[in-house]
């Protein structure tokens, strides 16, 4: 495992992309296939199985060290990660010296860690302590991370794939495709992944294509082009998904490469009506058959969390797949074809579906409409209409573009609605984790109720730059009024403009409102807390989303 621990350290230290890719390629090319397979799965985040809870490790650490729980929690607040906290506390455990234990990564992952998880009680505690005592410097943190399933490396999947391409001589796009839909780490899987094209290794029928991703709109770049070259669609407020029908089987993949068939049995019948060898790219929504627009993200969230939804939920929150691209037809990969051809094929496919299949009529499969656009001047008007059809903005896709792997800037743009805005007062702060450990970066904001009290409204973690974060952190430390464990209450003096994508009624929140994607837009040093918004202005947004721009401009 030392080689892998060293790689993680190198990735942390290397500043440039080239150095990181080189370190990855060196490692993947040098270690045994079984270890390379595991390294790959871990680097790509394809395996995050929790074998022992962080809580259990904490308990073992506390029992052995005799440290009080509150002190462990203070340490955790400073470090932001239990695996690392425990690694740093190891000297406090006074473990007897032991012969260093060095095993291959695959042996840890395939047998040692699962064996440890299978133990219970005192036997497990002893086994963990024995390993802690024997791990070489720097491996304890990694060991804890792997055991608790919290291992994450700050390295983009694209870089890992580039390194693999260097090692194997295969194209990055080919590797990205082969890695879609899960990778079970084994020497055989590694061999199949890196097999030459000519070897003709058959792809599993469940395998999805890598998603083509959009970038936030760069208006100047767009307006330099001819509007006639673009396909404009609504940007639906659902989740991106790929629907595959091959060999009589259906696979519904989320963008996170999770198979989510089980959560959406209401789409099964529709999918059975699709011809064999069909892959649709689209948006998964909750959209009742008779409704003119989708039901919003809240109902969809209820569906996403449920493995086998009951009849009542299916009735209340019926799913629909909104198709906007056709990636495979008759088993043929259409991705190299230009968008206008794929669109024509998609429309043709939907038209040709047998009448007996409960498809468009029942609203289970919908075609994302193409919106007319004569000139760039009309774009803004079109975007503002998104609010009224339950969309979150516009998508612009170059008509002559092939379906790319990942984010290819300039071919697909997303043009979202301006967020709703409210001015809120900072009430509580908590230290972040990872890079933001020991910095107060998790903020809770409040709005005024009718009786002169500030009511908690939203939490936000992003939107300030590094120097603002540092400044606010210092301010928070000096203006703390109370501490509740890691949380500090501060004097209600600082006002921030929060942006968010939507509001929903919620009985679980004190304000009666759930906020979608809240983030800080601006630190309003010009504002006094008295001038912050009230809950009633938030409720007004709930009644009339179009009021948002008006409010923000006040």
């Amino acid at each position: 495992m030392q080689a892998f621990a060293d790689l993680i350290q190198q990735l942390e230290r290397a500043a440039g992309t080239r150095g990181r890719v080189a370190a990855l390629a060196d490692h993947l090319g040098a270690v045994e296939p079984a270890d390379a397979a595991w390294a790959l799965a871990l680097l790509l985040g394809k395996r995050r199985r929790r074998l022992i809870t962080g809580r259990r490790l904490r308990q073992i650490c506390l029992e052995r060290s005799g440290l009080p729980e509150w002190l462990f929690d203070s340490c955790h607040a400073q470090v932001g990660d239990s695996a690392e906290t425990i690694a740093l506390l190891l000297p406090q455990l006074a473990l007897p010296p032991a012969t260093p234990l060095e095993l291959p990564l695959a042996e840890w992952m395939d047998s040692r860690l699962p064996a440890l998880a299978a133990l219970e009680g005192e036997a497990q505690a002893q086994a963990v302590l024995t390993i802690w005592a024997a791990l070489p410097d720097g491996q304890c943190f990694l060991f804890n991370k792997l055991l608790t399933g919290g291992f994450r490396v700050g390295v983009a999947a694209g870089l890992v794939i580039r390194a693999l391409a260097q090692v194997s001589g295969l194209e990055e796009a080919e590797l990205a495709h082969r890695l879609m839909g899960g990778f079970e780490p084994s020497p055989e899987a590694m061999e199949a992944l890196l097999a030459p094209l000519a070897a003709g290794v058959a792809a599993p029928i469940s395998r999805p294509y890598p998603f083509c991703l959009a970038s936030p709109l760069e208006t100047e770049r767009l307006e330099a082009t001819d509007p006639a070259g673009w396909q404009v669609e609504w940007k639906w407020d659902g989740i991106r998904a790929q629907l595959i029908r091959r060999n009589g089987q259906t696979f519904l993949w989320s963008r996170g490469e999770e198979l989510i068939n089980a959560s959406f049995p209401d789409l099964d019948g529709m999918a059975e009506g699709l011809p064999q060898g069909t892959v649709l790219d689209g948006e998964l929504t909750v959209w009742p058959a008779e409704a003119s627009q989708p039901a919003g993200f809240g109902p969809l969230q209820r569906r996403l969390g449920r493995q086998k939804p009951g009849a009542a939920l299916l009735r209340e929150c019926p799913a629909a797949f909104v198709a906007y691209d056709l990636l495979e037809r008759g088993g043929q990969d259409l991705r190299p074809a230009p968008l206008f051809q794929r669109r024509a094929a998609l429309e043709d496919l939907l038209r040709g579906l047998p009448e007996a299949v409960p498809t468009p009529a029942a609203g289970l499969l919908r075609l994302s409409p193409v919106l007319p656009l004569g000139s760039w001047e009309e774009l803004e008007t079109l975007r503002q209409q998104a609010r009224f059809v339950g969309a979150e903005g516009l998508m612009l896709k170059a008509l002559d573009s092939s379906y790319g792997v990942g984010r290819r800037r300039g071919l697909w743009w997303k043009h979202k609605l301006e967020p709703m805005e409210l001015d809120a007062v900072l009430l509580y702060a908590q230290a972040g984790s990872g890079r933001r450990a020991n910095l107060y970066t998790d903020y809770t904001f409040g709005l005024w109720d009718g009786e002169g009290r500030l009511v908690t409204f939203a939490k936000a973690y992003s939107g300030l730059d590094d120097s603002e974060i540092t400044e606010l952190d210092r301010w928070i430390r000096r203006h703390t009024t109370e501490r509740f464990g890691p949380v500090r209450a501060v004097e209600p003096l600082q006002v921030f403009t929060l942006g968010f994508e939507g509001l929903q009624r919620s009985s679980r929140h004190r304000s009666g409102l759930a906020v979608r994607f809240p983030r800080i837009l601006r630190w309003r040093r010009d504002r006094t807390p008295e001038s912050a918004d009230s809950l009633s202005s938030a409720q007004a947004l709930l009644e009339d989303p179009a009021a948002a721009p008006r409010l923000a401009s006040q």
Binding site: E12, R13, A14, A15, S65, L67, P68, W70, L71, S74, C75, Q78, V79, G80, D81, E84, T85, L88, L89, P91, Q92, F141, G154, S433, G434, R435, R436, A437, N438, L439, R474, R477, R478, T480, R483
Partner: protein
């Protein structure tokens, strides 16, 4: 928590005050008489009527507060009378000329630790354990996650880091007063005889060290190196404030590292944006803090700076000592420099 109003040491808006000696210890604002534990900016501030400090710290203080300050220099352990109190300075092992200050009046002795560390440091006198009835200790690193490895070991890693990049300049960021000289002294002890280049802020602090005979490798201000000369393979020591400043323009593809106790934590390393972080501090680690409390034999402990609440609670609940944080008054007082000095 504030100190009792009738005690030997009291907390005033200017900082810790001893009425019997009519003197403040490391005051935050100008006062008539200041007893200074050491020269870091959050402990030694300008504008006081008279200063008392350890003789080996005099050079640094005059340089930072003005050559003409009224300064009474005393030796470690030397006892002086001041008003109705007896005052002595004892080595704190923090930086050159750093002291714990002991004040006795009537039958009571208080010890103000200032900043201190228990680890070996070839650039300054070692910490001296001092007994007192009441101890005021710092707790900058008052959490058990902070456990320092010997400075020599960290210096050896820094040396290896420098050696592995013969084609690149190695920029080592360390606090200009104390940490930089400690690193140089450790490198000298490891046999380094090559010239090390210094940022102006570090250079300015070298004379007080060489004048008391601390063994250091040869050094030269970077500004005196001809522009044409290659910086590949050279070690350069600079204060953290120079990181990402225009000063860095001179270096082509340097490797960067930061030396600080905070670097023990991964999140802090990643946040600071240095390629490497070496955990080395001039403050006491958790075990060093506990040991110092025990060594003092104090019946009452007050804790300032950093995790003052936590250390006080631990002493109270786990060790049965009377301990209270003096936290908040001190929390805002750490200057950037003081933080970086850690």
């Amino acid at each position: 928590m504030v100190l009792p109003g009738d005690g030997l040491i009291q907390l005033t808006p200017e900082g810790l005050y001893c009425p019997a000696a009519d003197a403040w210890i490391d005051p935050w604002r100008p006062v008539s008489r200041a007893l200074i534990t050491h020269g870091h900016a959050d402990h030694a501030r300008p504008g006081c009527g008279e200063y008392w400090a350890v003789a080996t710290g005099e050079g640094v203080l005059r340089q930072r507060l003005g050559a003409s300050i009224a300064l009474t220099a005393v030796g470690y352990g030397e006892e002086r009378s001041l008003g109705g109190a007896r005052v002595s300075f004892h080595s704190a092992g923090h930086v050159l000329g750093s002291a714990q200050i002991r004040i006795t009046a009537g039958d009571e002795t208080w010890l103000i630790s200032g900043d201190y560390k228990r680890d070996a440091d070839p650039s300054c006198a070692p910490f001296e354990a001092v007994a007192a009835d009441v101890l005021i200790t710092e707790a900058t690193f008052g959490l058990p996650i902070y456990r320092w490895r010997p400075g020599r070991q960290v210096a050896a890693e820094i040396l290896a880091w420098w050696r592995q990049a013969p084609q690149r300049p190695s920029l080592l960021f360390a606090y200009a007063f104390g940490k930089a000289q400690r690193l140089l002294a450790e490198l000298a002890a490891l046999g380094v005889e090559e010239e090390v280049l210094l940022h102006g802020a570090v250079q300015a602090l070298m004379a007080p060290y060489t004048s008391v005979g601390v063994v250091l490798p040869p050094t030269r201000p970077l500004s005196e190196l001809p522009r044409s000369e290659s910086l590949a393979g050279r070690l350069v020591i600079a204060p953290p404030s120079a990181h990402r400043s225009p000063w860095m323009k001179r270096f082509v593809t340097p490797q960067t590292a930061f030396v600080s106790g905070w670097m023990a934590v991964r999140g802090a390393r990643r946040r600071r944006g240095f390629e490497r972080g070496f955990a080395l501090s001039d403050h006491a680690d958790w075990d060093g803090l506990l040991r110092t409390v025990v060594d003092s034999g104090a019946r009452q402990v007050y804790v300032t700076h950093g995790n003052s609440d936590g250390l006080a609670r631990f002493l109270r609940e786990e060790q049965g000592l009377a301990a209270e944080p003096l936290g908040r008054a001190f929390e805002g007082q750490r200057s950037d420099e003081g933080e970086a000095a850690s």
